[in-house]
Amino acid sequence: MHKDDPFDRLLERTSRADREGPHESCLDAETLAAWADGSLTAHERALAETHAADCERCLTVLASIARTSPPPVTAQRPSWLSVRWLVPLTTAAVAIAAWMVVQGPPLDRQVQRSEAPAVDAVKPSAPGSDAERDAGAANRVEALQKKADAPARVNPKEKEQEESRRADASGSRKQTAASDKLAAATRRPVETPPAAASPSASTLSRLELKDERVTPQTRAFAQAPNVIASPDPNVRWRVTARLVERSTDGGRTWQAQSTGTDIDLLSGASPSPIVCWIVGRGGLVLLSTDGATWRRVDFPDRTVDLAGVAATSALEATVTTASGRSYRTSDAGRTWTLQETPAAPF
């Protein structure tokens, strides 16, 4: 009778369809989205996987979300700026800058380009200004969120596990986490190519010049200052070697800012007119939440060069190391999580 009687087959199919319909245990959109964004706890994820493994509806929805996921961030960049070019490009840019420093004018020529004196630039905003209030608000949100240091901090053991997991990813791990936040971040022109650095003697000793990659295009790129646009077209930052400058008139005039660091700065992102993230060599992460002053954010690995950063707020940013590894923070850099880059979550 079973399977041979068409009526039974029809019954079987109908029953199956009914069983697969939406029911209370089906994953809601919020859970599915949190799964896609990697926000579920391990326990929640295990429960969700168990359900989706046997639920055609949820599996189909998951499949749809997977299929409609935006392309990875790296794919949205111009090809000559893709991550696989960042390392050689940065190296070449630094080398060219080094050569120019040795051959050319003194280092402080870059400071002289600023139209406003540095002493004015580092002056903090007037008390009660919007900038100060917003900076305070950003800090207070940190207090609101009350994040613990421990859970997401990357420890050496986790790093080791990550490394071994990445071993099978071999050459194709150029994708960075393609969360929607990053996609949103890339809609804004916040992620900029690494700037030409003006290396010190110690920096020069670490350089690996690859002459075959030094094209005229690379030379031009190396000499160009690294401009970081904010959502406000009038406000932008400029990073040249170790110098940070800010413009509030669309780039007509620039004010130098003190960062308190002598490490080469490579890239930056500005998700709002008063918030800017800048990354550099030696695990350097700088954050300004008032558009004027900078503080160094703790980063778990001070041996790596950070080649890129994408940020959506004063709290949330993803930095990319020169080797393509990504770390994400959602608490203004208090904790960092190594991203699952082999397969970007949706």
């Binding site: 599915l32 949190a34 609101l144 613990a148 929607d180 970007a344 979550p345």
Partner: protein
């Protein structure tokens, strides 16, 4: 639970005209939704708040409250996301209608007892707003397709009457095919959930290895290896079941597989036992 009094406010929340108390209400609502059984422990709360998408929650809350600036921003930033997702779901444009209906629900066109109820009320900041929108859209699209499939008339040969008595009753088929199907079903049911999820994502949902990797958080090469291992495991289990419980010889097991593969109404063994990474018969190359 969440400090109040106009002290905590994100820059964007201020931009949307959201007061600190309104944002605090939203965060508290999110916590209540996530921990319905009671207040979370301090550790749980910290972990939850650490992953909360506060800026998106602020935007959604402001939109739900009808703040114009927030709506302007949402329309500018997120409506294109919604339409792109709709076009990806159905390139013929069918999902755009669902996207428009969703947009109306987000705005709260459907009033409940005179009060505008926005779909944004169901966003609690556990994911980014863009991902949540894609999830809601995908869910509605899938439900619409499934509803349509249920009401569509069955093809003539599946209505039952003409087929009765016309099937060739091969004695081996009658015995062996159900045995194989039962053994396979049992073997699949006994798999760990994650293995079943990969298997069904590949064979049922027809996802590519890379797409499965996005779901499981694995590289596609890892997915391929797991699928191959699972397939071997199923085959071993099925052969053991047929041999030990069905009393079949090696030759009979081979014959049973052949019959099951040939059976037009039966389990698609070919799909289960083919090597995943080598399969190219589908319309797209799913190894990428």
């Amino acid at each position: 639970m969440v400090p109040r009094g106009g002290r905590e406010l994100t820059p964007d929340a201020r931009r949307w005209g959201l007061s600190a108390d309104e944002l605090a209400d939203a965060v508290e609502g999110s916590l209540r939704h996530a921990f319905p059984g009671g207040g979370p422990t301090g550790r749980e709360r910290e972990r939850y708040l650490a992953t909360l998408h506060v800026e998106d929650l602020a935007l959604a809350t402001a939109c739900a409250l009808g703040r114009d600036q927030a709506w302007d921003h949402f329309v500018l930033e997120h409506r294109p996301v919604l339409y792109r997702a709709a076009d990806a779901l159905d390139p013929s444009g069918g999902a755009r209608e669902i996207a428009d209906a969703l947009y109306a629900d987000l705005y709260g066109m459907r009033a409940a007892e005179g009060e505008r109820r926005s779909l944004f009320r169901y966003f609690h900041g556990r994911s980014s707003l863009a991902t949540w929108l894609r999830a809601v859209l995908a869910q509605r699209h899938v439900d619409a397709l499934r509803a349509k499939r249920r009401v569509e008339p069955l093809p003539e040969d599946e209505r039952g009457l003409p087929a009765v008595g016309t099937v060739q009753q091969d004695p081996d088929r009658v015995v062996l095919v159900p045995l194989v199907e039962r053994a396979i079903t049992t073997a699949i049911d006994e798999l760990p959930p994650k293995d079943r999820l990969r298997l069904r994502s590949y064979y049922v949902a027809q996802l590519t290895l890379a797409e499965i990797g996005r779901i499981t958080g694995e590289h596609e090469a890892t997915v391929s290896r797991h699928l191959s291992r699972t397939r071997r495991s199923i085959r071993t289990t099925v052969e053991a079941t047929l041999r030990d419980q069905g009393g079949l010889s090696g030759a009979q097991i081979g014959r049973a597989f052949e019959l099951a593969v040939e059976d037009p109404e039966g389990f698609d063994l070919q799909q289960v036992f083919d090597r995943p990474a080598d399969r190219k018969e589908s319309s797209r190359d799913r190894s990428r």
